[in-house]
């Protein structure tokens, strides 16, 4: 096949701080026509800088210092800026990660697509309008003639990303650069968008450079894969080679750190440390400090490309035929060495529940008009009941906007529930006063999603950790595993012990949060919650902002904390793999209500509700499964301000019946623990009904 894009020895510097950062350092790759090439790596590895270098859209601090980027034989680095404008959007197009930020909010979708057409095609007005309509239909936007004149805020997240794709396709490019195109989207929407990209590629024979950190997406989409680490490519392989036999220790360790069902009873293998600072000159392999198979050679010699088999190449000394031969057994051994066996502590009694939420409702009023009359309610949470036993994990799964986070916050009474009851142990929390609540607040704590906004940037770590202790008058942190109980340690010692428990050295307490990486910040956030001896931790997507390898560290930490301290978790997430790894029970939420609830094996293994089935099938799989059928959901999550009548899911449900449009289905039980709300299954007698 003809080579379309040919990058040779690309070096991009970023001039920030004292020394220039080598964001891309000697990158060489080739993409053929009509091929999907995936660039895989953690954040900070230079993936996006590669994409921006190709487009020559680097930030002001960026500078390409060496290399060639040839598209069909033309070196784009030699072109003047005016020549470059004829390439961008016409021959190479790009879609960005954040669809919310990459569309101009004051222009309609049609006007924005028209800009591309005007630049490259010079169509008459009528033809341009037809073309826009055609493009939007192509990306599956319903009612395109009307919706093309709408503004981006009238589009949902998935629709915006479709509109972005339509805009990128407007110039009929030969190469589409997709920079994390689905990271900001929900799994069901992600499945739609990935499917769309695949269809378009087949139709147009367009090459795609897919930049992502998600192994699942790579497995679904890519034909060839390059693994990028610290500014350079470390492994180059076809999809099958890569997923059957990852060669570079980094790739192997990435796979090992993925959470999943089969790893439930073990700790995940972690990649220690972080991506090294790219402002240094590397003497040896860049991965050596985090590698579990490092040799003495790796520290002082830069590895060259070594073939593994056929097209599969790797930049690692282990594959140098001259020096030594490595069997793959060695690798698995070393991985298992890392694994700490964690025995599942069997909790004798599950009869007494730590937390009981009954019929919880959180409605936000919508106010309109001059006098702010209440015109309606956003039913963020609409009658949710759940129970968590001590030391157990309940996972709350659902797409964004379904009310997961609101439940977490209203359990903590950060948001006042509209109705329902939250009982912690035997105490009713709803309608408690601030001072009464303070007495019980130490029992339940929350860990937030974004480690960057959950720590006050102006407070030192010690102050952050002390805050909760002094506010709640906690004198001593429980030491289930401490040896020196005799001497009453000062608060500072308590904090040292706390930091050690979350795997941080004690002297970090004098620093400010900005000096830490995302994973370390999340550890600090966990330490802050633990400082007041909680019995229940509400984890609101604690790993979704982190890289896979760091996610594994945090999940291990949470699991060991649960085993050592007997914590109960309410784990709010949209990541099914994490759920499979961590949860005992799962509750699936859709539009403010729980549609299916049960033990982990029941819900993940034998999902009953059509939504659960669709959700599980949309998760990109690494292991190719011939039986797998992706259930494509139409459309997006409806607005919780005006939920559909009857079953909330019926407009998107592939199995909807007449009755679904009229009444909300009552509960159907499949076992003592497994329940769902769906008319497909026989109803329980005398079960409670949701009224409308």
């Amino acid at each position: 096949m003809k080579t379309l894009l040919d990058i040779e020895n690309l070096q991009t510097l970023l001039h920030t701080g004292d020394a220039p950062v080598r964001a891309v350092d000697g990158l060489t790759l080739k993409i053929s026509e009509g091929e999907t090439f995936a660039l895989l790596g953690e954040s900070g590895c230079g993936k996006s800088m590669t994409a921006l270098s190709i487009m020559r859209l680097l930030p002001d601090a960026g500078e390409i210092v060496a290399g060639q980027i040839k598209i069909d034989g033309t070196d784009v680095l030699q072109l003047p800026e005016t020549g470059m404008r004829k390439i961008r959007g016409k021959r190479i197009s790009m879609i960005f990660q954040e669809p919310m930020l990459s569309l101009n909010p004051v222009l309609t979708i049609a006007e924005q697509i028209d800009e591309v057409l005007k630049q490259h095609l010079n169509l008459p007005q009528q033809a341009a309008q037809l073309r826009i309509q055609e493009l939007l239909e192509q990306v599956g936007i319903p009612d395109a003639p009307r919706r093309m004149h709408e503004y981006p805020f009238q589009f949902s997240g998935g629709m915006k990303q479709r509109a972005m794709i339509a805009m990128a396709l407007a110039g009929e490019p030969e190469l589409l650069i997709a920079d994390e195109p689905t990271t900001a989207l929900d799994v069901t929407i992600q499945a739609q968008v990935l499917d769309l990209m695949r269809q378009i590629q087949q139709r147009k024979n367009m090459a795609i450079l897919l930049i992502t950190h998600d192994l699942g997406v790579v497995a679904e989409m890519a034909q060839r894969i390059a693994v990028m680490y610290a500014g350079e490519i470390v492994e180059l392989a076809t999809r099958d080679d890569f997923f059957n036999q990852p060669a570079h220790p980094y790739s192997q360790q990435l796979f090992a750190s993925l959470p999943g069902k089969q790893k439930r009873d073990q700790a995940l293998a972690v990649i220690n440390g972080n991506v090294p600072s790219l402002s240094q000159q590397f003497a040896g392999c860049r991965f050596v400090d985090r590698c579990n198979q490092a040799l003495a050679l790796c520290h002082d010699t830069i590895p060259q490309w070594h073939p593994v088999s056929g097209q599969h190449q790797v930049r690692c000394h282990l594959y140098n035929k001259d020096s030594m031969h490595v069997s793959s057994n060695l690798m698995t051994d070393s991985l298992i060495r890392n694994v700490v066996n964690i025995a599942q502590t069997a909790h004798a009694s599950t009869a007494s529940f730590l937390l009981q939420v009954t019929d919880l409702k959180v409605h936000f009023p919508i106010r309109k008009g001059l006098f702010k009359r209440v015109a309606g309610h956003v039913k963020a949470v609409d009658g949710v009941s759940l129970k968590i036993a001590a030391g157990k994990t309940l996972a709350l799964v659902g797409e964004s906007g379904c009310g997961k986070t609101t439940i977490g916050k209203s359990i903590l009474q950060l948001i006042q529930p509209t109705a329902g009851s939250v009982r912690f142990k035997d105490q009713e929390l709803v309608a408690l006063g601030r001072s009464q609540l303070r007495q019980i607040r130490s029992q339940f704590q929350i860990i937030f999603q974004d480690p960057y906004s959950s720590l006050n940037p102006r407070m030192r770590i010690i102050e952050i950790l002390q805050e909760g202790m002094s506010a709640l008058h906690v004198e001593r942190i429980d030491h289930m595993d401490a040896n020196n109980q005799s001497s009453a340690p000062s608060r500072e010692k308590e904090i040292d012990a706390l930091l050690q428990r979350v795997g941080l050295p004690a002297d970090v307490k004098w620093r400010f949060p900005h000096e830490f990486s995302g994973g370390q910040r999340q550890r600090i956030a966990i330490a802050r919650a633990l400082a007041v001896n909680p019995k229940l931790l509400i984890c609101d997507e604690p790993t979704s902002a982190l890289d896979v390898s760091v996610q594994a560290q945090i999940l291990n930490l949470l699991k060991s904390l649960q085993n050592n301290l007997g914590l109960a978790f309410l784990f709010i997430t949209h990541n099914i793999a994490v759920v499979e790894y961590l949860a005992d029970e799962v509750a699936v939420m859709y539009l403010g209500r729980i549609v299916e609830h049960g033990h982990i094996d029941e819900v993940i293994g034998r999902p009953k509700h059509p939504y659960t089935q669709a959700l599980l099938s949309s998760v990109p799989q690494i292991q190719p499964d011939p039986d797998r059928q992706i259930i494509h959901l139409k459309g997006d999550l409806p607005s919780p301000a005006a939920p559909p009548a009857g079953c909330h899911f019926h407009p998107r449900c592939p199995k909807a019946m007449a009755i679904c449009r009229e009444t909300y289905p009552p509960v159907s039980a499949f076992s003592t623990t497994h329940t769902a709300h769906c008319f497909l299954y026989p109803q329980e007698q005398g079960s409670e009904n949701y009224e409308h």
Partner: protein, 504 residues
């Protein structure tokens, strides 16, 4: 005693302000983690240069704050001392010649003659229209036409030399001090400063200081025999007026901010944090206040004050205390009308912060509202407060000028930039133009506000824990060097895509 000390209202507030600043410095010095960011301020070249100039202004302002009434020569019948009704400050004593050398009317800077012709009666009884000699400016010259320029150059040069000398002594002192502190040789420290390897940018500070000292030297040698910046309509020295205006500008800038800050901080953060009806009430208050033209409000308040002063002459011992009360009142009323802008900014920022997760986490810990406001929100809005107050500082100095023009500003007996500009305003239209009064006011205000801005910038950069100090100077000089390290075989335009290509 040869004088009787007087503490005016604004003096007291300035002393209070200085005491607060000093105790804050003392507090910071004893807390290592608070000291580190402030040390970073010391590493910013522009910030430290600005501070050098600011200190000069502050010293003048403080000198002008120490007020007293000098004793008069004659005594009362009982033998008691009589103190003058005129209130003087230390600055007045230091610059006595400037204060007392009053000409008849306008004279240009460094002139020896008046600016306008007037009728002079000659000894023989004839009358001539000519430029009269000044009473003080260049009065020592026998033959001004020939000696004038030479004398100025000579005196200026001696002044520069004095400045250089003082600077040299300061440099030596500094190096000795550093040598003593670091236990290194004198020369090592000197070369360190010269090669800009010291942590504190002494190089930049010393250059600023050199310029400042040479200017002061030059001006002070000339000022005893000339009017360096000319004289105004009634023959008062402009340099003296400019120096006196500095205190008024500082008072209006700082005291107004001091009065405005509690309103803005408290109400703004409360509105943003609590929302609901508290937010509504505060919003109504400031929108109402905002919708009244502030000049009208100030005019009304100041006129009320004026009436009060005039009907109660017995409570004011001196003219200065009357003028001072009016200045204080002006500060208060300016403060009350100018908090709304900052309040609105703070409300918005607090609303944003309130939703952040660390505040939510604090709620989850049951931290009290007051603690959340003081420990989480206040430190995170301080950068806005700092920028807004420095921006306001220049605005307030200008507002004083505008109000003095309308006639509701400071007391006419108070010398301020506003009254100077107001007096000079009409003279801009006359031919030949009298430009020096306006230029002097402009130059002094510009320097003051610019150095305050630069210093605030440096403080803000250093206090934000998220900013890393980028060594801008280095990156500036290193850029060309970087390209040399990478052999560019054939493509010079690959350096920066945005750069215009030289070989298309």
């Amino acid at each position: 005693m040869p004088f009787s000390p007087i503490i005016l209202w604004t003096d007291a507030l300035i002393y209070l302000f200085v005491a607060i600043v000093l105790s804050f410095i003392g507090y910071v010095r004893h807390h290592e983690h608070l000291l580190t960011p402030w040390k970073r301020v010391g590493h910013s070249a522009s910030g430290m240069s600005a501070l050098t100039i600011l200190i000069f202004f502050l010293v003048i302002g403080l000198l002008d704050t120490v007020h007293f009434r000098p004793v008069l020569d004659h005594k009362t019948n009982d033998g008691e001392k009589i103190y003058s009704v005129e209130v003087l400050s230390l600055l007045d004593i230091v610059v006595t010649p400037l204060r007392t050398h009053v000409e008849k009317t306008y004279s240009a800077p460094l002139a020896s003659h008046l600016y306008a012709k007037e009728t002079i009666e000659l000894p023989d009884g004839k009358q001539v229209r000519a430029f009269a000699r000044l009473e003080y400016g260049g009065a020592h010259l026998q033959n001004p036409e020939t000696e004038h320029i030479g004398d100025i150059v000579w005196r200026g040069a001696t002044g520069l030399a004095y400045g250089l000398l003082v600077w040299g002594i300061l440099v030596v002192c500094l190096c000795m001090l550093l040598a003593h502190r670091n236990q290194q040789s004198f020369q090592h420290n000197l070369s360190g400063i010269w090669r800009r390897t010291t942590e504190i940018p002494w190089y930049a500070i010393l250059i600023t200081l050199l310029i400042l000292l040479m200017l002061i030297g030059c001006v002070s040698t000339l000022a005893s025999h000339y009017h360096v910046l000319g004289t105004d309509k009634v023959g008062q020295d402009i340099l003296y007026q400019s120096l006196k205006s500095i205190r008024v500008a500082l008072v209006i800038g700082t005291l107004t901010t001091l009065i405005m800050l509690p309103f803005a901080l408290l109400l703004g953060i409360m509105a943003g944090y609590f929302s609901g009806w508290i937010d509504d009430v505060i919003q109504y208050i400031y929108t109402t206040l905002n919708s009244i033209p502030s000049v009208l409000l100030i005019a009304a308040a100041v006129l009320m004050m004026q009436v009060y002063i005039e009907t109660h002459p017995e409570i004011f011992e001196t003219i200065a205390s009357r003028a001072d009360l009016r200045l204080l009142f002006l500060c208060i009323i300016l403060g009350i009308t100018s908090w709304t802008g900052l309040c609105r900014l703070l409300r918005g920022e607090t609303m944003k912060l309130r939703e952040l997760e660390y505040i939510q986490a604090a709620h989850a810990f049951g931290v009290s509202h007051w603690r959340i406001i003081s420990r989480h929100i206040l430190p995170n809005v301080m950068h806005i407060v700092l920028i807004a107050t420095v921006m306001d500082f220049s605005g307030l100095v200008l507002a004083e000028a505008v109000l003095s023009y309308v006639g509701v500003g400071v007391d006419p007996s108070t010398i301020s930039f506003g009254t100077m500009i107001n007096a000079a305003r009409l003279e801009m239209a006359r031919e030949p133009m009298v430009w020096w009064a306006l230029m002097a006011a402009f130059g002094f205000m510009f320097t003051l506000v610019l150095s305050a801005n630069l210093f605030a910038d440096a403080v803000q950069n250093a206090l934000d824990p998220r900013t890393r100090i980028l060594k801008q100077r280095n990156s500036f000089f290193h850029r060309p060097a970087k390209q040399e390290t990478f052999p560019l075989n054939k493509t010079p335009e690959t350096t920066t895509p945005s750069a215009p290509s030289q070989h298309p």
